[in-house]
């Protein structure tokens, strides 16, 4: 803090967090939340590319019923590594660690998160986690599925040799997640500016806060579980191994006690982003603020009580299944409330269909399908048929990829001018969004039919009747991949050739739009004062800057 204060005096207009200090060391040892956010973003997108390559291997392999590309063992590795990378290294940290780190302190008008060193440490933990996953691949591979189900994962004779490094990797990544969550909880509690009461926070912060609670409460459980699994595999102590008197289903309970709430770690921050996207790009006060805020907390709370629905066919008692089914439905209500409030926000808005907004609308469409198909999975009679089929694969891709990642990508576009100070190509942005939207739905909608008609998941070979669905799905995945590459190209292009971004290109009202793009090193010279972050009537369009300014006659809270 002392260095930033000292340098504060010679701030010039062009001085920002990107050029304030130079050299690789100034990044690797930075305590600046914005730089850490950018480092997270680069790493997570790299991991996303890696996980995506494995996804394409899977899709091309499944072009023919007997498998077109890989051996059985290679296929099993491909879906395991795809799942593990996407869950642990990409979707869980994506929004909180990358976008949250960048945006959250600025939204609070703060100079940084509460514990900047812990923040940097959590980034290093992420990198260590990645290293252990790579070690796992190098030391015999990983073929347990990302869920590490026992007793397969503790059977050294049948599962591949990379299980323990992968478990260590997931354990370390868990701590990275816990530290980020702790940091955000403390930051939101302690560093809110004067005037920003809980119900004046942007909804993204509510979502991040709810997420952080899950991260801090649930992740330790999976940490302990993974440790037990390591000890079990290494020394055979007999917790999960039925041959030693252990219980393999106990592992599933431990695992899902974390991993079901983890689904909400993925989706809640994306919902927070969508609340921002919908409000800002329709210049309309968010509808039902308190209901959206409370629904985030409700989802986080209910999310802890529904893990048993992953074991409807694992031999649980009927009563337990009925109870878990009932509680599972409770999650659908706050989710529905959010969707209806977003729709009501669009009503009588001033809607611009720019790239970020298109992602926001795509989210509503895709989450609509992902959420509604959750009803089949919560219902006992239908879940027995659908469990572990491609229907489930389609359902969780609609939620985790189609919703969580689409929200993430929408957020990247929304805050891209803020992060880089450059505008990306709107035309290419819209084209890519269309490709991603169409590609995604073609890829995964077919998988609903495939699954409910009888194709089990994790199959390297399949009955010929499912080939047509698999071919369509693979074609969709190619379109989807092209969409992602187009995004990568125009975003990278914009860094070098993009137009300079104004401070407030979309007319956002939360505090991050009140500092320059990119933000100065310490965000705000003085703590800004806070108004209603969804009151857009105080802004007016400035043609010269191609951005929004304060309306001359508006009362400016702050300066």
């Amino acid at each position: 803090m002392t260095t930033t204060d000292a340098q504060h005096n010679n701030l010039s207009m062009s001085d920002n967090y990107l050029n304030h200090t130079k050299g690789i060391k100034s990044w690797l040892f930075t305590l600046d939340h914005k730089r850490i956010g950018i480092m997270y973003l680069i790493c997570i997108l790299t991991a996303f590319l890696l996980g995506g390559l494995f996804a394409m291997l899977i899709r091309f392999h499944l072009l023919t019923p007997e498998g077109a590309l890989l051996t059985q063992d290679q296929y099993n590795q491909a879906f395991t590594v795809h799942g593990a990378i996407m869950v642990f290294l990409v979707i869980i940290p994506a929004v909180p660690a990358a976008l949250g780190n960048f945006v959250l302190p600025i939204m609070l008008g703060a100079k940084d998160v509460a514990f900047p060193k812990l923040n940097l440490f959590s980034w290093y933990l992420w990198v260590f986690g990645l290293v252990f996953f790579l070690i796992s691949l190098a030391s015999g591979g990983l073929d347990t599925g990302w869920t590490f189900y026992t007793p397969y994962s503790i059977d050294k004779a049948s599962s591949m040799g990379g299980v323990i490094p992968a478990l260590i990797g997931a354990f370390i990544l868990g701590f990275s997640s816990i530290f980020t969550g702790m940091n955000f909880i403390v930051t939101i509690h302690r560093l809110r500016p004067q005037g920003m009461t809980w119900f004046k926070m942007p909804l993204f912060l509510w979502a991040t806060y709810a997420t952080a609670i899950i991260q801090v409460l649930a992740t330790p459980v999976v940490g302990i579980t993974l440790l037990l699994l390591i000890v079990e595999r290494a020394f055979g102590i007999g917790i999960f191994d039925p041959a030693l008197g252990g219980d393999p289903v106990l592992y599933q309970h431990f695992f899902w006690f974390y991993s079901h709430p983890a689904v909400y770690i993925m989706i809640l921050p994306a919902m927070g982003i969508v609340s921002e996207l919908i409000a800002v790009h329709s210049h309309r006060h968010i509808f039902g603020y308190k209901f959206i805020a409370y629904s985030s907390i409700a989802i986080a709370m209910f999310g802890f009580l529904v893990w048993g629905h992953h074991m409807f066919t694992a031999g649980q008692s009927q009563l337990v299944n009925i109870i878990f089914s009932l509680i599972t439905f409770s999650v659908s209500i706050p989710s529905a409330v959010k969707v209806f409030n977003w729709l009501a926000t669009l009503y009588k808005g001033s809607i611009t269909l720019n790239t970020s907004m298109l992602y926001g609308l795509s989210f509503i469409f895709i989450f609509g399908i992902g959420g509604l198909t959750g009803l089949y999975c919560a219902t006992l009679a239908t879940d027995v048929h659908l469990h572990d089929s491609y229907f489930i694969v389609a359902h969780f891709h609609y939620v985790m990829m189609g919703s969580a990642l689409i929200g993430f990508i929408g957020g990247i576009h929304h805050w891209w001018p803020k992060m880089t100070g450059k505008m990306f190509s709107e035309l290419w942005g819209r084209i890519a969004c269309a490709l991603v939207f169409v590609g995604f739905n073609v890829t995964f909608f077919t998988q609903f039919m495939m699954g409910s008609r009888g194709m089990p998941r994790r199959y390297a070979t399949y009955a010929p009747e499912f080939q047509i669905y698999n071919i369509v799905s693979t074609i969709g995945s190619v379109v989807l991949a092209i969409g992602f590459f187009v995004i990568a190209i125009y975003l990278i292009h914009s860094i070098f050739k993009g137009k300079k971004a104004p401070a407030n290109p979309w007319g956002g009202r939360s505090l991050e739009w009140q500092c320059s793009s990119p933000p100065p090193w310490d965000n705000f010279a003085e703590q800004p004062e806070v108004g209603d972050c969804y009151d857009f009537s105080v802004l007016e369009w400035n043609e010269e800057e191609q951005g929004y300014d304060w309306r001359k006659d508006a009362v400016h809270p702050g300066e």
Partner: protein, 363 residues
């Protein structure tokens, strides 16, 4: 050409129940309840999805931004509306839950007097024991139509799961405990049974076929199945083993010499007889067979490989073979050994099986 046309004609003439857009054909007494639940949810989903996307599209067209300074002053909250869209979905999910729970209880509560089959999952095959008849089936399960059948299941190694999509039933198969499921098939025919809990390398090949046959033929079929090998002469055993027992080995041992999880059966007997098998501990089989050795007769080595496969692991393989102790009767072990000795007589050069169960050549 003519045969192709007749085939097409036959295919179109016989009404094949392919189910509907979402679900495969329904062939058990409980499937109707599941499908009803599925359809109720589907219509609710169609309605809400149309509502959500419809409103979204209408609003996006109607309220498009006309100028960057357009100020909009719609309502920011409405408690009555919030309660409406909280309570209506709440009531609907209670309905869905109740319908689903009732269907589930039907699925789980096996009626009195079920015909019992014991199921053993083992990487990567299914064994079905019929205690009533003393018959054992591998990768095939024969059951009577119109009679409730209960599967009592356990696993010898890792988790598996039985799924028969056309019956809408599924249950995990867990080592160290029993789980069960029941069904009553409503139509004679053949139905796919899949393993649907990931169990390692050949998970996707851990399949079985459920043969639903007329109830009055069932007893005779099972009795024949139970005793078919007991009355066989040695000359009939190779054909029996390749048709009835080999499917248990097929996921790991090829007949045509191709590489797989375990050594190929092609030329196996010659390698064993001459002792040309090397083990991972450096020993070779030639020192273990012959007079006054561990095995004596080479047949004993094969016997041990079936019952105690971890004792000697062939070089280049991981030793993932499970033990078949207690699962094979003496005469079946003999049949397998005879199969090895006569493998050339029952397969062609490409490893295709060329005999029928009764020993006659296939077409």
């Amino acid at each position: 050409m003519i045969s192709i046309f007749t085939n097409i004609l036959l295919a179109t003439a016989t009404p094949v129940d392919n189910g509907n857009f979402w679900l495969p054909r329904a062939a058990s007494t409980t499937a109707g309840g599941v499908d009803l639940t599925f359809n109720v949810i589907t219509w609710i989903c169609y309605f809400f999805f149309a509502l959500i996307v419809g409103l979204m599209v209408v609003f996006c067209i109607k309220y498009r931004r006309k100028s960057p300074d357009m100020v909009c002053a719609g309502p920011t909250h409405n408690t009555a509306l919030e309660l409406t869209w909280t309570i209506i979905p709440l009531l609907l999910v209670v309905v869905i839950f109740t319908v689903g729970m009732r269907g589930y209880l039907n699925l789980r509560e096996a009626p009195e007097g079920c015909y019992e089959v014991q199921v053993t999952g083992q990487k990567w095959s299914w064994t079905f024991d019929h205690p009533e008849y003393g018959a054992t089936q591998v990768a095939e399960l024969t059951v009577p139509v119109g009679k409730p059948v209960r599967l009592l299941m356990t696993s010898n190694d890792v988790l598996h799961s039985v799924w028969i999509p056309d019956f809408r039933v599924k249950m995990d198969v867990i080592p160290g405990r029993y789980t069960s499921l029941w069904f009553e098939a409503t139509a004679v025919g053949e139905y796919a049974l899949n393993c649907t809990e990931y169990c390692g390398k050949d998970h996707s090949k851990m399949l079985a076929t459920v043969h639903v046959i007329p109830a009055d033929e069932f007893a005779a079929t099972m009795t024949k199945l139970a005793n078919e090998y007991e009355d066989m002469s040695v000359g009939q055993l190779p054909a029996y083993a390749i048709n009835r027992l080999y499917n248990r080995c097929a996921s790991c041992h090829s007949l045509d010499g191709s590489l797989s999880t375990g050594p190929t059966f092609k030329g196996l007997w010659d390698r064993v007889k001459s002792g040309q098998v090397k083990f991972t501990n450096g020993e070779s089989l030639s020192g273990l067979i012959g007079d006054a050795t561990e095995y004596g007769e080479p047949e004993n080595y094969i016997r041990e490989s079936l019952l105690n496969p971890q004792k000697h692991i062939v070089q280049g393989y991981l030793g993932s073979m499970p033990s078949f102790q207690g699962q094979l009767k003496e005469k079946q072990i003999t049949a397998i050994i005879e199969m090895f000795k006569h493998l050339r007589d029952v397969t062609d050069a490409n490893g295709n099986i060329t005999v029928n169960p009764d020993g006659t050549p296939t077409e």
